[in-house]
Symmetry: C2
Subunit: 182 residues, 2 copies
Amino acid sequence: MTSSRSYHHGDLRRTLLAAAVEAIAESGPAALSLRDLARRAGVSHAAPAHHFGDKAGLLTALAVQGFDGLGEALRAAGDDFRESGVAYVVFAVRHRAHFEVMFRPDLYRADDPELVAARERTGELLRGGVSRHTGREPDADALAAWSIAHGFAELWLAGALPSRVGADPEPAARAVVGRLFS
Amino acid sequence: MTSSRSYHHGDLRRTLLAAAVEAIAESGPAALSLRDLARRAGVSHAAPAHHFGDKAGLLTALAVQGFDGLGEALRAAGDDFRESGVAYVVFAVRHRAHFEVMFRPDLYRADDPELVAARERTGELLRGGVSRHTGREPDADALAAWSIAHGFAELWLAGALPSRVGADPEPAARAVVGRLFS
DNA sequence: CACCCTAACTTGTCATTGACAAGATAGCAC
DNA sequence: GTGCTATCTTGTCAATGACAAGTTAGGGTG
């Protein structure tokens, strides 16, 4: 309910998170301002603090949403680790704001229990997508797969990739991830 | 000279950049404050603006330093693309502050001519190392190599990797990068 | 239906920050 | 020595995050 007349907004928490996604997509997480979010939602400047405590609290909630969403995307991609890698990249590009927050723990409360749980759930999915070398060192195969997908996504979001890579992340990601173990 | 009595600092630009590296290493680029840097350098709160214009200007200078430093590290690593990948990761970890700024173009002026030049120089090095190894068109191979090194570095810096990976990035990076084209 | 009790939101305030303007100082060319 | 100019200072303003204290609404209880 976005009814704008009532004293009680009714769905402010969700509204603020959506506004944050929009604002971050426009100007990056560094430029995010709680007061700007309040203005976008049509509430007073101190309203966000009630729901999230402070800025880090809001970004923590965003990161939780992000890890959950990434987990869903990975589950939908199936078992093949190549498809998982592509899905990882596609998620990062389509949910840029979430992704840009998720891996910047200096922006939020990385030890928040809810966040730790969400991150752990999704981390399990990531590792499961690649065959494991049990017992031995940390699974370098899984790390390599995660790294190549994560790196391509970060480079894409940073605008560091040459323009000839194109505008659609999916085929580009498929080509890059395919280089692994081949 | 860091003589603290004279009106003219003498080497303020370099001093401020060093202070910025220190501050970012402590609390991340988001928490960086020009006034804090001025305090660390023992000058007035407006002194940084003279040398860098604004915060983005300072971070642009930091990014230029970073791309130059990365280029040097890559050159020192030699021709083997695997060693280049390891050097990339080691640079990111040892020069965390520079690296964390370099790939966040929303923090600085990405179209600054000096920065564009430095980024282009280093980008050339990155692509060259891989095409020499595979003989193929550099596109996807180079992207894959860059992605895997970059991704591992980012995950390391974000603290996202499981603790069993260890504390020394070099052997871990070697294991991961070795998964490429094999 | 009346009460109240608590979550949701507001207004008000303060220290900090980035940015800008205007002034002071010192090193350097001549 | 004189003036020029880069360097640095002081002063100020709007915006922000955080906190304190007050206001409103809406649901449970009697």
